[in-house]
């Protein structure tokens, strides 16, 4: 009997295609897929969320036992913050069914945010740095504008559905690296939406501040302050501009200047001081 082994021919069990060619096609397709998915879900999720009547937001927040502010906040401060909210609200043409509640949190965090049900949270860290009422009114009007635009719920709807979709997709995707890359692509797509929300809130807030005080002097204080804090960012500016959830502080200051020029708002005017007891209230905590 005669047996033989012949030399296997190359290219039958393996491909002759360059590995990078397929890799590039796959990477491009995956990026397009994730971007389209997140854009669709952000738009659809945001659209559906904005169709939900506001009273359901209020009901939802009432049913959760979420503690938004500190347990025993300085009562006068909270009352004054709520008065300030009432003062700027007419400038935002807030519908009657939307009620704003301002909460105070004693942590020294430089932040304020709006969440569902018209609940705003102001941190001590931000309040202590406010030099006058005008600066605080801009932040207040900005957060109320988020409530007016239904951004907290839209963000939740769009963000949550995108997150679920990405988790399902990358769960199928295998290794950690591919999953992380696709998630980052999804996040980067998502932040384009949050930045738009921020810009819209700035525009509405600026109009409100102008209608209350007759000028917008002091409105850019927050961004000047945060800009000074974030000066040491490790990322190049173009990348940070693209990857941040919020527009860059310098961009916001310039945008405010442009909006003021376009709308004819006065940029100078008398600044309203904070109440005499303001610092004392903050120190009570």
């Amino acid at each position: 009997m005669d047996f033989e082994n012949r030399q296997p021919r190359e290219g039958i069990n393996t491909t002759r295609e360059h590995p990078l060619k397929r890799f590039m096609i796959l990477l491009g397709s995956a990026a397009v897929l994730v971007t389209v998915l997140v854009v669709t879900l952000q738009l659809a999720g945001g659209w559906i969320a904005r169709k939900i009547p506001f009273r359901y937001e209020t009901m939802a927040i009432e049913q959760t036992s979420l503690e938004l502010g500190s347990e025993r906040p300085p009562a006068e401060l909270v009352a004054w913050l709520n008065q300030l909210a009432d003062k700027v609200s007419p400038g935002l043409e807030l519908p009657a069914d939307i009620e704003i509640t301002v909460n105070y949190h004693h942590e020294n965090v430089f932040n304020a945010f709006a969440t569902i049900g018209g609940q705003l949270v102001f941190y001590r860290g931000l309040l202590t740095q406010m030099p006058n009422e005008n600066a605080l009114a801009m932040v207040m009007a900005h957060e109320i504008a988020h409530v007016l635009h239904r951004d907290p719920l839209a963000g939740l709807g769009g963000g949550l559905s995108s997150m679920l979709a990405l988790a399902t997709l990358t769960g199928q995707g295998g290794t950690g690296a591919a999953a992380s890359l696709l998630n980052q692509t999804g996040l980067l797509t998502g932040v384009q939406f949050t930045r738009r929300m921020e810009n819209n809130a700035d525009t509405a807030a600026l109009a409100a501040v102008n209608s209350v005080y007759g000028h917008i002097n002091g409105a850019d204080t927050l961004f000047v302050l945060t800009g000074a804090e974030r000066d040491d960012s490790a990322l190049p500016q173009w990348l940070e501009r693209f990857a941040s959830t919020h527009p860059l502080d310098g961009d916001r200051v310039r945008a405010i200047e442009k909006m003021a020029a376009d709308a004819g708002y006065a940029t100078t005017g008398k600044l309203t001081p904070l109440p005499a007891e303001y610092r004392q209230w903050l120190n009570e905590d």
Binding site: M1, F3, E4, N5, R6, Q7, P8, E10, N13, T14, T15, E17, P19, L20, R22, F23, L26, L27, S29, A30, L33, L169, Q172, G173, G174, T175, A177, A178, A179, S180, L181, Q184, L235, L239, A243
Partner: protein
């Protein structure tokens, strides 16, 4: 962002070192196959009965790890479907290397044929390592002394 940077760097490193290792391995496989082709390894279970062959089990075993580039590309293919070409070359190398090691084992015994050749594979995925084991085994026929 740092995560993405690390992933990109690993993919590039995986591609550079993985491709170089693969090219070198295939070169070595082809060279050794040419040398060992004269020792026939066949799948039939019925050896020639004209000689009282000495029969011994011979094995060849190899474990080859995937590189970061291959694993990454394969995970992208997982989304869209299709041939997992990055792993095809990996498996091809493993199978051929296992066969060569089995033949080397048989050659050291002075065998003339290997009969009833079979392959066994298993996946090693513990500790995040993407590696494949291929074992080739068969019955070496050595002429009687």
């Amino acid at each position: 962002m740092i995560e993405v940077g690390i992933a990109v760097a690993l993919v590039i490193l995986g591609y550079i070192f993985g491709s170089a290792a693969e090219r070198r391995h295939f070169k070595s496989i082809i060279k050794r196959e040419r040398e060992l082709n004269r020792l026939a390894a066949v799948a039939t279970r019925f050896p020639p009965e004209d000689t009282a062959w000495r029969q011994q089990l011979v094995t060849g075993n190899v474990v080859i790890a995937s590189d970061y580039f291959k694993t990454f590309t394969a995970s992208l293919i997982n989304i869209f479907g299709g041939k997992v070409t990055p792993f095809e070359s990996l498996i091809d190398r493993a199978r051929r290397e296992a066969m060569l090691r089995m033949k080397a084992d048989a050659q050291s015994l002075g065998a003339e044929y290997i009969f009833n050749v079979k392959y066994n594979t298993s996946r090693i995925s513990q500790f995040g390592a993407g590696a494949i084991e291929v074992m080739a085994y068969g019955t070496a026929l050595t002429p009687p002394e």
